[in-house]
Point group: C2
Chain length 298, copies 2
């Protein structure tokens, strides 16, 4: 059996089941970040993401936005847990005929984003590679009371998304702003029951929340905020790389958010019993069951 036959998520699940961790680990792999004990009132967040030329960006892409993106995707994971990024380690696999200027530019993209969010680039590793390969590991922290995971969505919760979805592959994925400030504002002012970043596609990432929380969801076609780059609804439902926040709030908290001045968040649906699965309510009111989908590596 080959890994492409079992698929990325079954593979993750398979590996996950075999791992044993000690009592200092609050949440091992399976969420956007791993969560470990840190101090009396804080947890530490750990996450890593590997980007490879030809998979996550084309060979024609400029190095500055590629370097920036490599850090941004990990910062987006920290945001999804409600945290603050602190340190980043960068492993760079480079073809030996890479121009020095490209490495300078790639690193400048990373540095500019790191400075903006007060992230310390503390170390890394260089390796020879056939294709440009960048792995960024980020260490962050979050107050215990502000930690948000995927697995506490509750029936009746309202589902929200930040920004606009779809068509990110036509440019936004190389210049998106990780939603760190928005996430910190959310966890500081609301009780967020569950959160994830939309990296693989709305339906697939929502399905992660549903599975982890043992619930179902209804989403309303008419409410989904389509980006200008989205050609159609499917781009928003199944296109990946939006790096927006997807989260759920109790109806009371949802009402507070809707009445706040912050207009970047859009309610798109609600959490329902697990037995109902994931359904889309079309503009004409018809309900259809959605098979979650989006980007998968294998």
């Amino acid at each position: 059996m080959l890994i492409r036959q079992i698929g990325e998520f079954a593979l993750i699940e398979r590996i996950r089941k075999k791992i044993r961790t000690d009592s200092s680990v609050v949440e091992a792999s399976g969420d956007d970040c791993a969560v470990v004990k840190f101090s009396r009132d804080k947890f530490q967040l750990l996450t890593c993401d590997m980007l490879i030329e030809g998979v996550d960006f084309t060979p024609r892409e400029k190095p500055y936005p590629v370097g920036r993106k490599a850090l941004a995707v990990s910062l987006s994971d920290i945001a999804a847990c409600g945290g603050i990024p602190r340190y980043a380690l960068v492993s760079l696999g480079l073809p030996s005929k890479t121009p020095l200027e490209s490495v300078d530019e790639l690193h400048r993209g990373m540095r500019d984003l790191a400075r903006r969010y007060h992230v310390n680039l503390v170390g890394g590793d260089f390796s020879r590679a056939d294709k440009l390969t960048i792995d960024v590991a980020v260490v962050g922290e979050v107050e215990k009371k502000n930690l948000v995971l995927r697995r506490r969505a509750k029936e009746g919760d309202i589902i929200f998304v930040s920004g606009f979805l779809g068509g990110s592959i036509r440019g936004k994925h190389l210049r998106f702003t990780p939603r760190l400030s928005e996430a910190r504002w959310l966890v500081g002012n609301f009780k967020v029951n569950s959160m994830i970043d939309v990296s693989d596609g709305l339906t697939q990432d929502l399905a992660h929340i549903l599975k982890a929380s043992s619930v179902g969801a209804l989403i309303y076609e008419g409410l989904i905020p389509l980006s200008r780059q989205a050609r159609n609804l499917d781009d928003a439902l199944y296109g990946g790389e939006d790096f927006e926040l997807l989260f759920t709030l109790s109806p009371l908290e949802a009402k507070r958010l809707i009445h706040s001045k912050e207009k970047i968040f859009t309610p798109i649906g609600e959490i329902v019993p697990r037995s109902r699965g994931l359904r889309l309510i079309a503009k004409d009111g018809r309900e259809k069951i959605i098979r979650p989908g989006g980007f998968r590596h294998f």
Copy 2:
């Protein structure tokens, strides 16, 4: 200009100079680990290493030892700073036609080593790749008093190495034991002035200590402990992947170590003024200047 024209170490230096970190960073890139503030009596250690098929292991290698090595090289960095590894994040780039069994075996190699040293495998990332690519980031900790860096070797220090050197490429690099216990014993019982792990070759890694400490060194051909796999002295001087500890102690501390029951450490030379550079005293007593060399990615 291409990166292979300036070389790996000049590239690292170039990038390093541009990085600004805040006051929580005790030591940014440039040592085996980055060191950041943690608690009143401890620092946190951060390190990452990327291994790529065709560079760090051949395509014919079995996945179990490859997975084990990917974690071991990062644990060796933690050992070189005198610390204890705690958490590991693993990014895996896999060709989609990888057999499931290979991933299982690769992960088993990693898990077995992690269990032995009480390291929690807390998360990771899968990506599609043309060649098997493994990046492991490790978070560790060290008591402030036990932290050892490269840059505090002093004139008169005696230089020691653990185990045997050379010929690692003929097998040992895939089954070495990271010197965590030995390093902890050392820092717990001796004042270690400087330490590094021999990953690129004895002369090259010693040169890192010399440069960071602004000193020179004499090493004695007759004292260098050659492994059975080493074909000649050059294998020990320039061959990489030994993953042994290379460290310096004051003459008094050195005497204590030599008289201890621990026979795994061999004195191989002494630290001298910087102006003398790095010299080898041959068995016939003749001195020659050594140009440090070893494995370089570019």
